[in-house]
């Protein structure tokens, strides 16, 4: 879930900082240290000891002549990875003969470095005989005063966690969405189309407001299965969940700009946006359920020197691994330890781009032509490091990789040029992942290709293409069956459709054609029935978002939180709700509107056969739901009507009263000469007819 975030435009208000800190810091030792450190150098002694570590198991009995050499070795070993020592920060105690005692004290410049040293350098080998122990100086004191007798630790009181799946139990199975506007963060239930997508508030930060706080002043994000809501704060990320959005966990990472949940919500990656390859805590891997920091990383720029782009890391579909693209390779890490698999990256020469399969631990990547090697599309198993399939391609300009969301197909959209290089054409290489040896089939298109997308969970795909930008059409294809036999087949083509984008319903079949944001034209299309169900527009619309069940879709105009682009959208800020068929349900305007986010749902627990069973007995269900809807609609209408009736009654009563006064005043008006008493005889009504010559035209004699 990439979130763009720019703190640089933000004025830091110190009061506010304190306030926000409460979200994150209370009781959390690690974070307290980080915050203290931010406050600058303190004279407090204890704090200074926090920067000191003890290194034990160094060589004993080293004579004075060699001290300097040993110090240099220690210095090098213990600063290169974690940060510099203070001036005179290395103390190597020696006995009366000036022979070393076998341990040293190191004072780092920051608490951060000291913590890092304990974490990273403990167990480091100086040589084959000396494996060093690294621990905090404060431990010395702690263990010196350790009580002799065992004291049973007090068990913290058990606090049950809120049920993060509570919202899935809504009696009518409604979806939720989040609105982030101004200083407000609001979560609403969305009623169905019959109820005109009516919104009922689920939570809007009431508890925080009562405590005099603002729930979230920056961006927000849902976790991929919808269990948690993440709010961004200057000090880090906070997760909320349960029916009342209780605070569940905090992840202290000052200046955090981007986060990425693992697909199954086991881990969280946070990045502070720094890509200088210096900041040791630029990227942090967290265990989401315990809140423990597993590992932190430096982040470097891209191999070609461009700034790093989020997501820097990509998760495997089962949370087990995450991977990063480097020069000529992919680094794959184990999620539970954060360690590089087999301690070395997987070789992938000239790699340009890679994606995990959405269903299996397979990586697809492509590499352009280089050093007499052809361009390649490769399917890689990161565990065995074997190439499961690769294909060489020639005369390649560019490749785009599109996984179908159930991982059954991969499409490599290959832009190629003819031998002369004058004209280009596009090959769609469709790989069938479920067949033995992963066979592929090619669809060639001479047209310019504007867009390609798979229908979710199905074997169909749509392409927007045309002779040029101004003559576009849309074609729907079937990639055939998942396994064996059937090949690619053109379903039908819709010429002259000037759209740039397809937005598939997550339930498949229904798709929205969208044009440019300025025109805001949208068409709702039913792929099975081959009909357009609605043609509408939402002026300036810059986002189209389907609800996770595919019942409803929102067209949205938001503005970025910072920067001048905001001006462009300001006037139109708001969202429109549509049914999946394009019935306009509700329109809302909203100032300073930053985010509209549907709450994602976990994957369905039903398997294919169970789903089909439901589909077969749809009629039975339908009757029940129609009835329920009808009852609800009537109730809603009745209450709305009641309000309207009383409003109308009140208004008309007032008007009648005022009219009465007007009539009473009529005499006074006449007395004042303000009106002439009604006297129709004053006028003579006459009907007259008049002929007017409008123009004259003399026909020439034939």
């Amino acid at each position: 879930m990439p979130i763009d975030f720019d703190y640089s435009n933000l004025d830091v208000d110190l009061d506010e900082l304190d306030l926000l800190e409460e979200y994150i810091s209370d009781g959390d030792v690690d974070t307290d240290r980080v915050f203290e450190e931010e406050e600058g150098e303190g004279a407090d002694l204890k704090k200074n000891f926090d920067k000191v570590v003890v290194v034990d198991n160094l060589p004993k009995g080293v004579p004075q002549e060699k001290h300097e050499k040993l110090q240099a070795v220690i210095r090098k070993l213990f600063t290169s990875k974690v940060g510099d020592l203070q001036e005179d920060g290395l103390f190597l105690p020696a006995d009366g003969d000036n022979k070393t005692l076998g341990f040293a004290f190191l004072a780092y410049k920051t608490v951060d470095s000291a913590l890092q040293a304990i974490k990273v350098l403990d167990g480091i080998k100086l040589d084959s005989k000396h494996t060093c122990k690294v621990f905090p100086y404060t431990d010395l004191e702690k263990f010196a005063t350790w009580p002799e007798e065992y004291q049973e630790p007090e068990l913290p009181e058990y606090k049950p966690m809120p049920n993060v799946n509570e919202w899935l139990m809504h009696p009518a199975v409604r979806d939720q969405y989040l609105l982030r506007h101004g200083n407000n963060t609001e979560i609403y239930w969305c009623e169905n189309a019959v109820m005109k997508a009516q919104a009922t508030l689920a939570y809007d930060g009431e508890r925080e407001r009562q405590n005099g706080k603002i729930w979230c002043e920056m961006y927000t994000a849902w976790s991929p299965q919808g269990s948690y809501l993440a709010t961004f704060h200057r000090q880090g990320i906070v997760l909320w969940g349960g029916d009342e959005f209780q605070r569940i966990r905090r992840f202290a990472h000052p200046g955090v700009q981007h986060i990425l949940f693992s697909p199954n919500e086991k881990y969280l990656l946070t990045w502070n946006g720094v890509d200088d390859n210096m900041n040791a805590r630029a990227l942090i891997l967290w265990d989401l359920r315990t809140g423990r920091e597993i590992k932190c990383f430096k982040v470097d720029k891209q191999p070609d020197g461009e700034p790093a782009v989020w997501p820097v890391m990509k998760w495997s579909p089962d949370d087990q691994f995450f991977a990063r693209q480097i020069r000529d390779g992919i680094s794959v890490f184990d999620s539970s330890t954060g360690r590089l698999l087999e301690k070395k990256p997987i070789k992938a020469k000239s790699i340009r781009e890679f994606y995990w399969s959405p269903s299996d631990n397979i990586i697809a990547y492509w590499a352009p032509e280089a050093d007499n090697f052809p361009a390649r599309v490769v399917l890689l198993d990161p565990e065995t490091r074997e190439e499961r399939r690769s294909k060489n391609l020639f005369n390649v300009r560019e490749v785009k990789l599109h996984w179908q969301n159930s991982g059954d197909f991969l499409c490599a959209q290959v832009l190629r040029h003819t031998k002369s290089g004058k004209t280009t054409f596009t090959n769609f290489e469709i790989f069938r992942m479920r067949d033995a040896n992963i066979p592929n089939e090619i669809l060639t298109m001479k047209d310019m290709v504007e867009h390609f997308s798979w229908e979710p969970s199905r074997e169909r795909f749509g392409i927007i293409h045309g002779e040029n930008q101004h003559r576009l059409g849309i074609s729907f294809y079937s990639a055939g069956s998942v396994e064996g036999g059937k090949s690619i087949e053109l379903l039908y083509n819709l010429p002259n459709k000037a759209f740039n984008n397809l937005h598939w319903s997550p339930a498949g079949n229904n798709v929205i054609f969208a044009g440019s944001a300025i025109s805001g034209e949208i068409e709702f299309w039913d792929v099975d029935e081959e009909v357009m169900t609605a043609a509408e527009e939402h002026f300036m619309c810059n986002e189209i978002s389907w609800d996770p069940s595919g019942r409803m879709v929102a067209t949205i105009v938001t503005q970025p939180m910072f920067g001048s682009v905001a001006m462009k959208y300001q006037l139109e800020n708001g969202y429109n709700m549509w049914s999946f068929q394009g019935d306009s349900l509700r329109k809302e305007k909203m100032e300073h509107f930053y985010q509209f986010l549907w709450r994602p749902r976990p994957k369905s627990l039903l398997d294919e056969s169970e789903k089909q069973k439901v589909e077969r007995s749809l009629k039975n269900y339908m009757a029940r739901y129609t009835k329920e809807d009808e009852v609800r609609r009537k109730r809603l209408e009745a209450s709305a009507n009641k309000e309207k009736i009383s409003a109308l009654q009140e208004f008309r009563d007032l008007c009648a009263e005022r009219h009465e006064i007007f009539v009473q005043q009529q005499q006074e008006r006449e007395r004042l000469g303000l009106v002439v008493p009604d006297n129709d005889e004053e006028f003579d009504v006459m009907d007259t007819e008049e002929e007017v010559l409008v123009s004259e035209k003399v026909e020439p004699y034939p």
Binding site: F539, N641, K644, L674
Partner: protein
Amino acid sequence: MRPLILKGHTRPLTTVKYNTEGDLLFSCSKDSQPTLWRSSNGERIGTYTENGHRGTVWHLDVTVDSKYLVTGGADMTAKVWDVESGKKIFDFPHTGPVRHVEFSEGSQMFVTVSDPFRGSPACISVYEFDPNAEQPEGPKYMWEVNGLEQGKKLSKATWMPLNKNLLSADEFGVMRLHEVESGRVIREVHEHTKRINAISWNKEKYLFMTGSADCNAILWDAAELKPLKTYATERPVNAVGISPIKEHVFVAGGQDAMSVTTTSSRVGKFETKIFHMVFADAFGSIKGHFGPINTLAVHPEGTGFTSGSEDGYVRVHEFDPSYFEMHSELDDLSALQTM
């Protein structure tokens, strides 16, 4: 609904107004040529230009018997005209550009609003109107508005029922109820937050509507000066009107001309919206102008309305039969109650 498009003005429209019966339509614009039209067919009957205004004509009003026309212009005069002959009768010099002119009930008086100019403050003047007088007489009452800062502008002044009081509106959205003679402020109302651009009455003068640059129009109870309904739009409101036959109100405006020159007309929302008077929901909008709508007049019979725009055109709309047949089930209270 195909409107008549009247192309007579060369500059942005400032005011359009029907006479009592609605057969005549008066318009004025920044081109200094107040014009008379036949409302049924758009025929241009004539202009009021002989010894006329120099520069923008901001506002006009016509007597209840359609015999005389008063116009106010940026040339710091109000002028009275004989409607039929087109001859100018009187000139009333002011201390600043004249923004607003309005006949009292019965047309025996009229009020003018003038802008501050060269040290003179914004002023409200009340004149006795006698068309048969030899010489134009000076204002009977003239006063500044207490509470309005020196150099700031008034936009409107309207007669309250029975001419008992005057209601002024200023560029900050403040309305004040005045004694006619002294201008003493009886009440001050802060409901709008920006300049009030329009005031319009219903036929029996117990309801009136205001439109403001704060994008809202408000319906008021005249007797208690109490806001009844608010009609929210997305753009500054320049013109408002109340239907005499249905529970409908008309609200028009658009993005300020200054800030739309580089964008398409759709951004500006140059449209007239029709709201339900009570439920305050917009159920219709009439587009067509390609500049903000500056002025609007509802036909006294409720059969249509006319809008004048910054684009220099006057559009005379006559409703289709379907408008009159349109019948919301909610309009019928008795039917509603049985539901």
